[in-house]
């Protein structure tokens, strides 16, 4: 249980520096507005802010009262108002309404808007249109990397997924690039770069441009991290759509981990109170079970509980001196462990209860059948029944998408009738993002496309291909799965206690495609021999490698790999790569625009009122 790293595994760089940097920058910005001020914080920024600064730090820098940015008139009586927001139009409108209300009332105050992680021109345009440009001062708080754990950096930008993969808006690419630039200034250049996906390629190009412009900053530094791998979420939707069965993923699917912490309700804490719990490597109990298949977790926890009991029991028969030692040195640790144990046992029970109720076993069986491509009719009727029984619209959507991508065809059932007609809009979104694929027109489209391409110049052809790409996107999942051996052949039972490959994160049924690609490329140090896979992924133009001379890179740094997930990664993928790292003596560092799961992907696609 809780496999140790190989003795030769490299040490992780210290990312806590990123927190300090962000905090110092925020303090600097607050000091730019000297004197007492009220601070308005956007809800989505509260949890990330919580992780790097607390109220007393804000108070030290003369923040008087804190408000949440919401659509309500502000009751603040302060002479100075400071807004800490994401660069969104609706935030600008809100600020404008406050400022204009003040103007009407003949009131003058100082206003400052701090955009995090950066300012957008569209926001400034709104400020200008609303007549308050110049009345408010604008600043940027480049807080784009939050270390959620020793090996996990999150940009906390869940909107990246919808903005880029649905709307085609590239506004966050520069934000990603700034984050990469920051990492390379702090931890040295990355000698080996790989990537796959349209966005990955664009981010990489913009990043290269930036490094060239700021030539010299990272030059001469010894690289600490030997490889960087950029990957677009749409290269692998399937993995993100699957139900998670490793502990951390399951906790995320069941209770939703938000910014590295989770709210355990009374059903878990077995008291009348909810508890906010940080889930990271510092929680010793959690750290040992986070990457485990759920079926192992119970056994582990009960073993742990027995050990704990034994340690408590040692008290008996102690003399006074020993007892004194025990109380002063061990008891606190034991109590802490006790507390954590009972929390995770409570969480497991609660998960079991919920999953039994939803026929989780049957659900998983269906998912595995879809992944392996057998009993399609049975799976389809299971999904239809799932819809008929109105279990949960998000779940049904997820299963439909999984069916559609794995079977390469539109699996639209009569979902709109069941979950409200607004789903018409959701369907349209899912199709545009390539989460639901069309069945027939694939070939026709390719034909049309090549015909059109012949008629126009090269440059324009690329653009027209763009226009078609989302429509023509066919998933080819079955062929890719075969090529990359994603479905392990198992004789007898797959031993989940002693995993043999990354498939263990899905009960031995499926190796996550994203992780397999990373594994294969790292093994070859290039895309060589993967042409067919790349072609099937519709990424022929978007798979790249870039190597620089490695003379300065230590062999240790060459076993450190930064994986960048554009559009989000799941805890299952993180667990799978941690496993790969232990097997090969690598260590992975994860940088993601946000941690995601199937429910979040589906929710990002649904339409709600503006």
């Amino acid at each position: 249980m809780a496999f140790p790293h190989r003795p030769d595994a490299p040490e992780l760089p210290d990312f806590s520096m990123l927190k300090r940097l962000a905090r110092d920058q925020l303090i600097y910005l607050l000091e730019q507005l000297p004197g007492k001020k009220d601070l308005f914080i956007e809800a989505d920024l509260m949890s990330p802010l919580d992780r790097i600064a607390n109220v007393s730090i804000l108070k030290q820098h003369e923040v008087d009262k804190l408000y949440k940015v919401e659509n309500k008139p502000a009751l603040s009586s302060s002479e100075q108002l400071c807004f800490l927001v994401r660069p969104r139009i609706k935030n600008m409108r809100y600020i404008a309404s406050l400022v204009n209300a003040d103007k009407l009332a003949g009131r003058t105050r100082k206003y400052k808007v701090i955009f995090s992680p950066q300012k957008f021109y569209a926001c400034e345009m709104v400020l200008e249109e609303e007549g308050i440009y110049g009345d408010v001062s604008c600043d940027e708080w480049a807080f784009s990397l939050l270390p959620l754990d020793v090996d996990l950096l999150s940009m906390e930008l869940p909107e990246f997924f919808r903005d880029y993969f649905l709307e085609g808006d590239q506004c966050w690419i520069n934000t990603v690039v700034q984050a990469l630039h920051l990492l390379s200034t702090l931890y040295g250049p990355f000698p080996n770069c790989y990537g796959i996906g349209r966005c990955a390629k664009m981010a990489y190009e913009l990043w290269r441009n930036l490094e060239e412009e700021e030539d010299g900053e990272t030059k001469g530094r010894r690289p600490e991290i030997g490889h960087i791998f950029l990957l677009d979420r749409d290269v692998d939707f399937v993995t993100a759509l699957c139900s998670q069965v490793v502990y951390e993923g399951l906790v995320d699917d069941t209770f939703r981990i938000k910014c590295g912490s989770v709210d355990f309700g009374p059903e878990v804490t077995s008291s009348d109170k909810s508890l906010k719990v940080l889930l990271n490597a510092e929680d010793k109990v959690f750290n040992e079970i986070r990457n485990e298949h759920f079926s192992n977790v119970f056994g582990f926890l009960s073993q742990k509980a027995r050990n704990l009991q034994a340690q408590y029991d040692r008290r008996r028969g102690m003399d006074i001196k020993q007892m004194k030692n025990f109380v002063s040195q061990e008891l606190k640790g034991l109590k802490q462990e006790h507390r954590l144990l009972s929390l995770h046992i409570g969480a497991c029970e609660s998960i079991m209860k919920k999953k039994t109720k939803q026929d989780f076993q049957e659900l998983i069986k269906t998912e595995h059948a879809l992944l392996e491509g057998f009993n399609i009719r049975e799976s389809t009727s299971y999904i239809e029944e799932h819809i008929d029984r109105q279990v949960s619209p998000i779940e049904s959507l997820r299963l439909m998408c999984l069916l559609s991508i794995t079977e390469n065809g539109d699996a639209r059932c009569s979902l709109d009738t069941h979950y409200g007609p607004e789903h018409l809009l959701t369907f349209s979104n899912l199709r545009r993002a390539g989460l639901l694929t069309e069945q027939a027109p694939g070939d026709t489209l390719t034909a049309v496309e090549s015909k059109v391409s012949k008629l126009v110049t090269d440059k324009a052809a690329g653009k027209i291909t763009d226009a078609f790409s989302s429509l023509a996107k066919r998933s080819n999942f079955r062929a890719i799965s075969k090529k990359l051996n994603l479905i392990p052949r198992v004789d007898g039972e797959y031993d989940l206690k002693v995993p043999r490959d990354m498939a263990y994160v899905f009960s031995g049924a499926y190796v996550p495609l994203s992780c397999r690609i990373i594994e294969q490329v790292l093994e070859r140090r290039s895309w060589q021999g993967l042409d067919e896979v790349v072609r099937l992924l519709n990424c022929s133009d978007f798979a790249f490698t870039d190597m620089t001379k490695e003379d300065k890179a230590s062999s240790e740094s060459l076993r450190l790999i930064l994986v960048v997930f554009l559009g989000g990664c799941t805890f299952s993928e993180i667990s799978a790569l941690r496993f790969l790292g232990r097997e090969k003596g690598y260590r992975f560092i994860f940088l993601t625009t946000a941690v995601t799961n199937s429910a979040r992907l589906m929710e990002a696609m649904s339409e709600v009122k503006a």
């Binding site: 300012k119 021109y121 440009y133 940027e140 709307e167 590239q170 029944e385 018409l424 709600v608």
Partner: protein, 444 residues
């Protein structure tokens, strides 16, 4: 005003300018300033211009913080009245136009690079269509969406929409940014114009339809949905839009009627089971459940009757039965449940039939806490023997288990089951009687 110190430094130090100091007499710019002062002294000819407004231009090109000079150098009449000044300037030094250019003559790629850094940068000098498009291409090839949008805002302001649309039609990346931008700022009108121009009829229809989400009042929403009906949706979607309208129309009628009934307090069902929420804007299946719950016995002619809903919206049999079963089971109306599965054949014999399979029926009944007698009846109707046995065991339908074992002549299983029933119970007696019976030829 809006420029930070860093900006200013970067401006002065940028490669476009030779190192500049205020006491450097030979510098071109200070010469220029002097010339300008000379020009300005001829007050009658030149408007009173501020020395330093030359680069205080926001990225959108509007002078920031400076007095707005009517028309700046844009309108024709302005250009005409400017003529005398312009004729003076060359003699004294550089023409005013060139002077402005000097501080602002970033190439498209420089401009785009500055924009990416968030620098203040005027786009106003890109006036020919060719320049504008070149700027856009530069922005697109740099990949920064923020900059693409900045250029699009400028293009939207300085090009007629026909020209803008025409040019974007062949520039898909930029087009997607404009569409998203229009959605974000809520410029629905221009968005619809754009879709119309692009002949993207389905998107046009969906985009229009989407607006209903922002209408709270049910009657207004209904009226709005009516305007969506003729729009060019796909055939399948068209039917859904029609249904959406009809459904809301029904819900409004049902809601008004039931609210009245409920508050009058005369109707038993509403007194016993007060409504938890309004039925307005609920999905079809929820509406059907509601109608099976409160209006089950109504004649087909009424809008609120389940049969009417089933017909109007062509609800499949399976779906109907599932929903009706759940609703009637919740009310413990077992007779209704029974009737749901009873069919008569042409000879008048009755037969039990369930389009969803009786194993599902049993599960739903169990979820609604049906008594064992009822459960037993339906477990018996499950065709597959193994499933039947499993369900009967799971839900403690002893008689079914016992009878099935007897029919299977499975003595071992019956023996095993004996330990699961209560000691001295009727079931135990029944098992014992069977086990000792000489009539049965057990298979094991």
């Amino acid at each position: 005003m809006n420029r930070t110190k860093g900006d200013e430094e970067e401006y002065w130090n940028s490669s476009k300018f030779k190192a500049f100091t205020f006491d450097d007499e030979d510098d071109e710019l200070s010469q220029l300033k002097e010339s300008k002062r000379a020009v300005n002294s001829l007050r009658d000819f030149v408007d009173d211009d501020d020395d330093d407004d030359l680069e205080r231009v926001s990225w959108s090109g509007e002078p920031v913080g400076s007095r707005t000079r009517p028309g700046s150098f844009q309108s024709l009449s302005d250009a005409l009245s400017d003529t005398p000044a312009k004729s003076y300037a060359p003699e004294l030094g550089r023409p005013k136009g060139e002077y402005r250019d000097y501080s602002n003559d970033w190439s498209p790629s420089d401009t785009v690079r500055r924009l990416r850094k968030g620098k203040v940068c005027s786009l106003e000098r890109f006036r020919s269509l060719q320049d504008k498009l070149q700027l856009l291409e530069e922005a697109v090839s740099m990949h920064d969406g923020n900059v693409i949008t900045a250029v699009l805002i400028f293009l939207k302001r300085t090009l007629s929409k026909e020209i803008l649309f025409r040019e974007l039609e062949v520039r898909q990346v930029a087009l997607r940014h404009l569409i998203h931008f229009l959605k974000e700022i809520g410029d629905q009108k221009l968005l619809l114009d754009l879709f119309r121009f692009l002949d993207r009829t389905e998107e046009l229809a969906l985009s229009h339809y989407r607006e209903h989400l922002n209408i709270q009042d049910p009657d207004k929403r209904k009226e709005f949905l009516k305007t969506c009906i003729g729009l060019p949706f796909s055939a399948e979607d068209s039917a859904h839009i029609q249904d959406h309208y009809t459904l809301l129309e029904r819900q409004i009628i049902i809601e008004a009627n039931d609210r009245h009934l409920e508050s009058a307090g005369q109707t038993e069902i509403f007194r016993k089971h007060p409504r938890k929420a309004s039925i307005l804007n609920m999905p079809l299946v929820t509406t059907l459940f509601y109608s099976c719950f409160y209006h089950y016995t109504e004649a087909e002619g009424t809008f609120s009757s389940p049969v009417n809903l089933k017909k109007t919206f062509k609800i499949p049999d399976k779906q109907y039965v599932l929903t009706a079963l759940a609703a009637r089971a919740k009310l413990r109306a077992w007779n209704d449940v029974d009737a749901l599965f009873t069919t008569k054949n042409w000879l008048g014999y009755t037969k039990k039939r369930a389009p969803i399979g009786f194993h599902r029926v049993v599960e739903i009944l169990h979820k609604n806490n049906a008594p064992v007698q009822i459960l037993q009846e339906y477990v018996n109707l499950v065709e597959d023997v193994d499933t039947k046995l499993n369900l009967a065991t799971k839900f403690k339908c002893h008689d079914v288990v016992i009878d099935t074992c007897r029919d299977l002549k499975d003595r071992q299983q019956l023996l095993a089951y004996r330990s699961k029933v209560d000691k001295g119970s009727a079931e135990e007696e029944k098992i014992d009687a069977l086990l000792s019976s000489s009539q049965i030829r057990w298979k094991n």
